[in-house]
């Protein structure tokens, strides 16, 4: 027996923290940490729903866990790509500050 309200609350909190992290950080990798938290929240939501559902259909019953696995996998792929991009960005610019102006060339032309 478990109260699903508790994991739901955790989901909400994690999502909020993730959003805060994405918005409040300047360092690109730290922004990525916020993203990870958001994804975690999503996974938790899926698992919770999957574990508390009363559906008997095997496809529906397993979907919570299976989809979470998928999310984790996709998240891994995403992190790999994102980090590669950040590295490339760092090479090109010398910093990974997201609070910098959007496009230096555009600024210069202005």
């Amino acid at each position: 027996m478990i109260r699903p309200a508790l994991p739901y609350l955790l989901v909400a909190v994690l999502a909020g923290l993730g959003v805060y992290g994405i918005l409040a950080r300047r360092h690109a990798v730290l922004v990525l940490i916020g993203v990870e938290l958001l994804l975690g929240a999503a996974g938790l939501l899926l698992v919770t729903v999957g574990q508390t559902t009363t559906a008997t259909d095997p496809a529906a019953a397993t979907s919570g866990q299976v989809l979470t696995l998928f999310v984790i996998t996709i998240a891994a792929a995403e992190v790999v790509l994102a980090l590669a991009l950040i590295l490339a960005l760092f090479r090109a610019r010398g910093h990974v500050d997201l609070h910098a102006d959007l496009d230096p060339r555009e600024e210069a032309a202005r």
Binding site: V19, I22, L98, H99, A100, D101, L102
Partner: protein, 678 residues
């Protein structure tokens, strides 16, 4: 108390005895297939197809174009004869369909055709004149690279006129009417490299089409009242009740349109300018088509016109003014073609005048008969003038002086034409004009009212004027030449025929002798004019055919008085011409007056001042307003969206994190909205 006891005479007394009923020729076992249709269909279809074929097939070959055009003319002519034959068999009224009824909703558009005797005779005349003109223009425009277009246009013109004649549907009337206007534009502007011809063509089209606004509206009103476009249906509908304001307005508008096309005052000025066209075109426009179309249309609608007082009075006034004014103007012209043009203005007004004067009792046939008569002699005069112009190199009065003496072959043609125009017995003009006089007189003494009285006086006054300008033209044309004055006798050698229709004409220069030059016309064109000359005399028989539905009492006093007046006028002209070198009586007219007459009394200036200039000024105002005011909202929208864009750009953060915050905040707000509103 009269001095002489004039016998009482009616028109039907003069007419030829009716033919005994023809034996019915029945050809057993040979039923005419439906495919052949009615002759009136062919009357319209054949020239139209000939035009189409002439344009598409002939290419650059004048010869082929001529074959097609003349062939079409011949078939049309045969169809018109066939029509007469059919009419004889069916006793005077023959109806048929055309392309079939149009599915135009509430409006019934049968697009029918119908002919009666007067109209069939008009059709036959038109077909004949058109054929002669085709043959003649083949010779006249032999070297013209634009001849195929010209011949095709003449064919279309013929088709349109014949359509107007045989139409039993106001839509078809409008169709024929407008197509004629367009064809006249093309024909008058045929020599399009000449500025004057271009201007004349433009003027003819715009002036007549302006008047046609009235025509179209009038026809639409008539059709709208009757809910059908069939002429018989319209007449039936409107004649059933007393003339209403709607009918009066409609007919007044139709009369305005007719006045435009028939070159009646105040639209008269386009016709003399139209002399810029090639002479065959002039002959066609003046004799049998265009200007005569107004008469035909009013004959169609006569049953309505006769009961509509205001329209009749308007028509009578316009026609009377034009009748007299045209005759006076004709007298003052210094150019033979322009003289003939003004005489056309006058003579067409005569037809319209008698329509205005006629009552249901007398019937409209006098107008149709004069139309037929006028077609013969005016075509003859124009073609002869064109011939003469080729020989002497112009149509100015000084140029054509003695023309009929130098070229004997033209002498009889001019003489007969002018005699018929003046209305001298026994030429065809005499009978038609007598009938007009009789009709006007009968109507004036009968129930014709004001219109008939006006017309009667105008017709009476016009007879001596007509005689005067005919006499003047003849005196100039028939002036003895220098050679004759010296050598008194004139050696006439037998005329040599040196060419034929489809061979190239040999241009015989004057150096080879004037006598031989007269044959420098194709024999077919020459026989065409011969036919027309013969018809000025034989046409009298047509005028006396018992098919004309006239119930006219002839007043012999009036007749004799008119003839006397004509003789007096002719003698006066003769006297006035004495002592003038060119024997031109018009030389007695003060120079300023004759100059003004040649310029049409400033009508052109008036058109420009009253219509063209204000319209163009209005048009300029419209374009200015359009550009500066109406277009403003489009430009305003452009400027406004640009401003909005700039504002949006200012509001957009230039850094990633705040922008992302905005986006996520927006998503959040949207999601909140979604959750709350659920």
């Amino acid at each position: 108390m009269s001095v002489v006891d004039w016998p009482d005479l009616t028109w039907s007394d003069l007419q030829l005895p009716s033919l005994p009923a023809l034996p019915q020729i029945s050809i057993p076992g040979l039923s005419v297939p439906d495919f052949w249709g009615a002759p009136m269909q062919w009357l319209v279809l054949v020239p139209a197809l000939a035009a189409l074929a002439g344009i598409t097939l002939s290419g650059r070959s004048n010869r082929l174009a001529a074959w097609i055009a003349v062939g079409g003319g011949i078939v049309t002519w045969l169809a018109s004869l066939w029509q007469l034959r059919v009419l004889l068999a069916v006793d005077g009224h023959h109806a048929s369909g055309s392309v079939g009824p149009l599915p135009l909703g509430e409006l019934d558009v049968p697009l029918g055709l119908a002919v009666t005797w007067p109209l069939a005779l008009v059709a036959a005349t038109v077909a004949t004149v058109a054929l002669v003109v085709q043959v003649y223009s083949r010779w006249y425009l032999w070297y013209d690279p634009k001849y195929p277009a010209f011949a095709a246009t003449v064919s279309v013109f013929t088709a349109a006129m014949l359509l107007t004649v045989v139409a039993d549907d106001v839509i078809l009337l409008v169709v024929g009417w407008e197509v004629m206007g367009w064809c006249s534009y093309l024909l008058i502007g045929h020599h399009s490299t000449k500025t004057a011809a271009r201007r004349a063509a433009l003027k003819a089209l715009v002036v007549t089409r302006t008047a046609d606004v009235g025509f179209v509206l009038g026809m639409v009103m008539l059709a709208a009242g009757a809910r059908t476009t069939s002429v018989s249906g319209i007449v039936e509908h409107w004649a059933a009740e007393a003339p209403t304001r709607g009918l009066v307005l409609a007919l007044v508008l139709v009369v305005v349109g007719v006045a435009g096309k028939s070159a009646t005052f105040p639209f008269q000025d386009w016709l003399p300018d139209a002399m810029e066209g090639p002479t065959p075109a002039s002959a066609l426009i003046h004799a049998a088509t265009m200007v005569a179309a107004g008469t035909v249309v009013l004959v169609h609608l006569f049953d309505l016109l006769a009961v509509t007082g205001p329209a009749r009075v308007l028509l009578a006034l316009l026609a009377s003014v034009t009748l007299l004014g045209g005759a006076v103007m004709a007298f003052a012209q210094a150019d033979l073609k322009r003289l003939l043009a003004w005489s056309t203005v006058s003579q067409v007004a005569l037809m319209l005048a008698v329509l205005a004067a006629a009552t249901p009792h007398t019937g409209p046939d006098a107008a149709a008969e004069h139309l037929v008569a006028h077609a013969w002699f005016k075509a003859l005069l124009f073609l002869a003038t064109g011939w003469l112009a080729v020989l002497v190199g112009g149509t100015a009065m000084t140029t054509v002086a003695s023309g009929a003496r130098r070229y004997r072959v033209l002498r009889r043609r001019f003489a007969w034409g002018l005699l018929a125009l003046a209305g001298v017995p026994p030429f065809v003009g005499f009978f038609s004009k007598e009938l007009i006089l009789g009709t006007a007189e009968s109507a004036a003494t009968g129930s014709g009212g004001l219109a008939s009285v006006v017309v009667l006086s105008a017709v009476g006054a016009s007879a001596p004027l007509t005689a005067a300008y005919c006499m003047r033209a003849w005196l100039v044309l028939d002036r003895p030449t220098q050679i004759e004055q010296h050598a008194v006798t004139y050696q006439q050698e037998p005329v040599e025929r040196i060419d034929d229709f489809f061979d190239e004409p040999q241009v015989v220069h004057e150096a080879e002798g004037l006598e031989r030059a007269e044959s420098a016309i194709s024999s077919s064109a020459r026989s065409g004019t011969t036919l027309l000359a013969a018809m000025t005399l034989l046409g009298s028989l047509v005028a006396l055919l018992p098919v004309w539905r006239v119930d006219v009492h002839l007043n012999l006093q009036l007749l004799v008085a008119t003839l006397l007046l004509m003789v007096v006028a002719a003698l006066a002209v003769r006297l006035a011409a004495r002592g003038v070198r060119t024997r031109d009586a018009a030389a007695r007219i003060p120079a300023r007056a004759s100059l003004a007459a040649e310029r049409g009394l400033g009508a052109d200036y008036a058109y420009r001042l009253l219509v063209a200039t204000p319209v163009v000024a209005l048009a300029r105002a419209v374009t200015w307003f359009d550009r500066e005011v109406l277009d403003a909202w489009v430009r305003g929208a452009g400027a406004g969206s640009r401003l909005l864009g700039q504002a949006g750009e200012l509001l957009t953060p230039r850094r990633a994190t705040p922008a992302l915050a905005l986006v996520l905040g927006g998503v959040l707000v949207l999601a909140a909205l979604g959750v709350v509103s659920r």
